[in-house]
Every structure is written in C-alpha cells, then in structure tokens.
Amino acid sequence: MMQAKGKVFKYGDNVDTDVIIPARYLNTSVHAELAKHCMEDIDSTFVQNVQDGDIIVAQKNFGCGSSREHAPIAIKASGVSCVIAKTFARIFYRNAINIGLPILECPQACDAISQGDVVSVDFSTGTIVDETTGQRFQAEPFPPFMQELIAAGGLAGYIAKQNEKK
C-alpha cells in the first residue's frame, strides 16, 4: 500500500483527539466500534460518507490533545488511507506511524486542496496530486524503514516481521 487515492475530507487547525474519538467511546478498544464514532463531534456525517481510501486534509497541529492511540486507530479503521496536515501534534504523529496510518506534512497541499477533491498520494516519492485541479505538491517521502513499517500494519507487525527474518 505505497499509494493512496480518495476524496478529501477537509478540516481546520487543532483538530484534537477528543473530536477524533470522544472519550465517551473509549470504554472499548474494538477497532470497528471506534470507527463508528470517528470525527463525530466535529463532523457528524463523516462516518456515513467516508469510503475506503478517502483522505483527510487539515491545517496545523492535527491530533493535539490526549495520547489515545484510539484516535489514529479510529481514522484508519474508518477506511481513511492517509492524513495530510501542515503539522501534527507529536504524540499523534508517533501513534499514527506506530499503528501504520500514513501521515504527511505538506503546508502547500493543505492550503490548496478543497473539500471533496480527489487526491492521490505516492508515499515512496512523497508526491501529492490533486486530481480534481491537476495541482502537484511535494512532501517529504517516507524513509524505507517507515514504508516497511506501514506495510506491516504498524510497529507490532514490523517487530514480528523483523523477528521472523532473524
């Protein structure tokens, strides 16, 4: 899964982990259950409208707030293939990588891409293309180990694979 393509859900600055997955649903860690309430407090129609492969584009400090890994899990389990933001809050950044949710920082793309555009992303080159407008943007590509990690579905799978190789 080194590429992603989907339609864009666009949000603003400081999308926090409480709106990504409200604490009232944290009495479970079942991925499908979490996905049912993803983005509920900021966008009540997200869950009905999101389709496999869709992409979230936001502004700065995406994922600020709590350390709940449930937040990137909910996003990934809802089918989202990638999150593009100007910057990410650091715990969210770490968690997303660790669970295998691809995330990219690209301020130009975040300013230019609109809600509903179809966007494609190549993780190995870091190229982002807005298919609707034809604009291209360049983000930092993932280093190879991170591509492997994401392909393995996250850090746990990656560690297991590394152990197999030994």
Binding site: C64, G65, A89
Partner: protein
C-alpha cells in the same frame, strides 16, 4: 555546544556523551506507565510481540483511574484486562481501587519518579513529572507495549524554549494561572516538538504543587516535555517520597534554545481559558458575565492537597449558588484522607459541594459530572475541547481552584478577590 537539561537526561539514558536537537536515539526507560484506557490496547500489542515477561516488573506502573470505580460493563472489562495482566506479570506497581489515585498525582506521591529519571506513559499528561527534574513524556499504547517489552524507547531529541521566571505570584495566583498565561501567549502548538524548560529566580517562589500543575499542562502547548531545575524544594519533596538517589542534571551555560521567554510571575493575573482551546485565555478582570452550571475541582492538574486547601479557604462560610453543582475530587487516597483529617470536607459539604472518591471522572467526560447541551462548567482540569466534559454543545472554562471556588459561590465566573470573608 552545550546541552539543555532535557538533552542531558536523554544523553545519559542513551549512553551517549552528548546529543543534539533532531538526533534520533534509543534510550533506557526508568518507568513505563499505563491506565485503564491505554493499557488494554498496549497489552494487546504486547501479546502480539510473543514476549513472555515485561522487562522489569518494578518499572511498570498500571493505574486504573479513568473510568473507575468501573462506570459500566465495558469499563469493568478493560480494568479486568489490566488487572489480570498485572497479576500474571507480577507487576509491583499496580494500584487497585483503594490504593489508586489519578496517575500523575499518584506516581510522584508513591515515589516512583526521581530526579533525572526517564519516564514514558501512555497518557499525554505524563509530562507532569518534569516538576521533579525528570524527563517524562506521553506516548501511545504501542510505544507503551514496546517499552514494557524492551525497557527502551526511541526519541527524537527536542530543542527547547527557555522560560526565564522572575518575581513572585500575587495573591490568588497559582501554577494554573502561570501555565494558562503561558499557553495563552504561545498557543496550543507554541512549543510543538520542543521542551519547555523553566528556570530563573522565580522558580523558588513556586511550590512543588505549582510546578506539577505547570509541567502537567506543557502538552497543552504541544510540548514534548516541561521541566524544572532541581532545587532545595525538589530535594525535600524527593527525600520525603522517593527512595531513589536523585540524579541532578543542569542545563549547560552555553545550551542553545530556540527562544527565551521572560515571565514576570508578579504580573500574572488569575487566568481563565474559554472554550474550546486552552489558548483562549482571558484574565479574570476581562471575563465579563458568564453564568455557570457546574464546578469541578480535581484532576491531575489541580487535585492536590494545596489545591483543596485553596478552594476550602474560599468556600468556608459560604454556600454554592443554588443553580450550581460543585464537585470536589481529591486526586489520591492520601490526599483524600489528608483533606478529611484537616476538616476540608466539612467546609465543602457545609457549602453544598460534594466530594468524590479519586477518579479522572468528569475531566475527560467519563462519568461523575457529565454536562448536558448548553451547560457550562468551570473546571480546574486541563482541556476544554469540544465535548471534553460531555455534550458537544457544553462548554468548559479552565481555571485555578481559587477561581473555581469563587465561581461556585457566585454562580458566575468570579474573581476570588471579590469573595468577602
């Protein structure tokens, strides 16, 4: 080039003579923390690693504090998962109901964090222990699982912002006002990926409880950690609580900082963060007329004994406004007992407040004081995001225990100075 205090602790734990900002390191951990929400996810991951035992049963702390005493069946199942893991792994520092407290108040009190330690916790407010001169930071459950399995974690060495503190806080100004003032100034991503290092002559005028509150909310500015120098107050606190020998690290005189911010503690006014971000601050003189429905005094930010004393001092001889529910939550069993022994509960109850057993409870909209649509709370907690304490149309105003207690009396966000004695 010199190192910051944080960089020195990281270098020591990575076995390196020096580190620089941006460097990726693998470091040894002194403690790995999890709670009833994050540990079950970590345990699931831990099991996938196919590793039998945690790296050190004395260096893992598990605290059921978020949805406890179990608020519903699902919460009970999560706690059960953590409890069985703690038992099968023979974890020394598992704190059952009866011993439990809100984790970031509990760990220092139990002496589990010492100066110079490196701590990760699957909870964003793990940064609290920076008050003790430790490097501590919040991570997710997968990092917690790896930490439990290997006793190590990778870090990107942060650069730092230096906060040079001078002066002394005035009456009714505490650690909460200081940190809200700072977040209001730099914003919720003002310290993204950075350390917040506090220093200067003003530090001496801040109590340990003030420092815990300040370090606790470093994450609310996006910081990786917040850290205080170790002084005589820190050493006295550690002597009382922590059996470990303190390891004191000081920033080099030529350490490089991204910027230095001067803070005159004497100029800070009681400060309130308006919905829905901790950076939306106003000084008490500018809040205007905000009618409230609930007051919460507690949490890892402000549920310590000095916080309860401040609140009791203001509530004494007064009554909570008839339309306000005032909920007091001592953060740990020890604080609870101390408050009881000091007669603070009588003051709270006579005023018409209630006192809860230690729990995170309403702080994260879990239980014990959820807000309905349109309701407003003044809370001594640390986050006021949309829906944080209940309904998406409810509002949370973050403030100090003094402002919260004064607001409980008047039923409006109030200046503690204006409450007569």
């Amino acid at each position: 080039m010199g190192m910051t205090m944080t960089q020195k602790i990281l270098a020591a734990h990575a076995g390196l003579p020096s580190v620089r900002a941006g460097q990726l390191i693998m470091a040894d951990l002194d403690l790995v923390l999890g709670n009833d929400i994050t540990a079950p996810v970590a345990i699931g991951e831990f099991d996938k690693f196919g590793c039998e035992k945690v790296f050190d049963r004395d260096k893992v702390a598990l605290v059921p504090d978020h949805f406890t005493p179990n608020k519903d069946i699902k919460a009970a199942e999560q706690c059960k998962c953590m409890r069985s893991f703690a038992h099968s792994q023979e974890i020394t520092n598992y704190f059952e109901i009866g011993q439990m407290g809100v984790e970031h108040a509990l760990l220092p009190e139990k002496g589990l964090v010492g100066a110079g330690d490196l701590v990760i916790g699957a909870d964003s407010h793990t940064c609290t222990y920076g008050a003790l001169g430790a490097f501590s930071t919040g991570v997710g459950s997968t990092d917690m699982a790896c930490g439990m399995a290997t006793g190590k974690a990778w870090f990107k060495v942060p650069s730092a912002i230096r906060f040079h503190l001078t002066g002394k806080p005035g009456r009714h100004v505490g650690g909460k006002d200081v940190i809200l003032h700072i977040i209001g100034m730099i914003g919720v991503d003002g310290a993204l990926y950075q350390s917040m290092e506090f220093e200067g002559p003003g530090v001496a005028s801040l109590s340990m409880d003030d420092r815990f509150t300040i370090a606790n909310m470093a994450i609310e500015a996006g910081a990786k950690n917040g850290i205080f120098p170790v002084d005589s107050q820190t050493l006295a606190y550690l002597k009382e609580h922590c059996p470990k020998e303190p390891k004191v690290y000081e920033a080099d005189s030529d350490a490089e900082y991204d910027r230095t911010i001067e803070i005159d503690l004497g100029s800070i006014r009681p400060t309130v963060a308006f919905p829905h971000l901790p950076e939306n601050t106003k000084v008490i003189d500018d809040v205007g007329e905000v009618k409230i429905d609930q007051v919460v005094i507690g949490s890892c930010t402000n549920g310590r004994i000095s916080d309860l004393r401040v609140a009791a001092d203001i509530l004494k001889g007064h009554s909570v406004a008839p339309w306000v529910r005032c909920i007091v939550i001592p953060a740990t069993q020890k604080i609870w007992k101390q408050a009881m022994d000091e007669g603070l509960f009588t003051i709270f109850i006579d005023a018409g407040a209630i006192v809860s057993t230690p729990t995170c409870g309403p702080c994260l909209g879990g239980h014990m004081g959820i807000l309905g649509a349109g309701e407003r709370a003044v809370s001594t907690t640390n986050r006021n995001f949309v829906g944080r304490m209940g309904h998406v149309e409810s509002e949370v105003y973050l403030a100090s225990p003094a402002v919260a207690a004064a607001s409980a009396i008047t039923g409006y966000i109030a200046d503690p100075e204006k409450i007569g004695k």
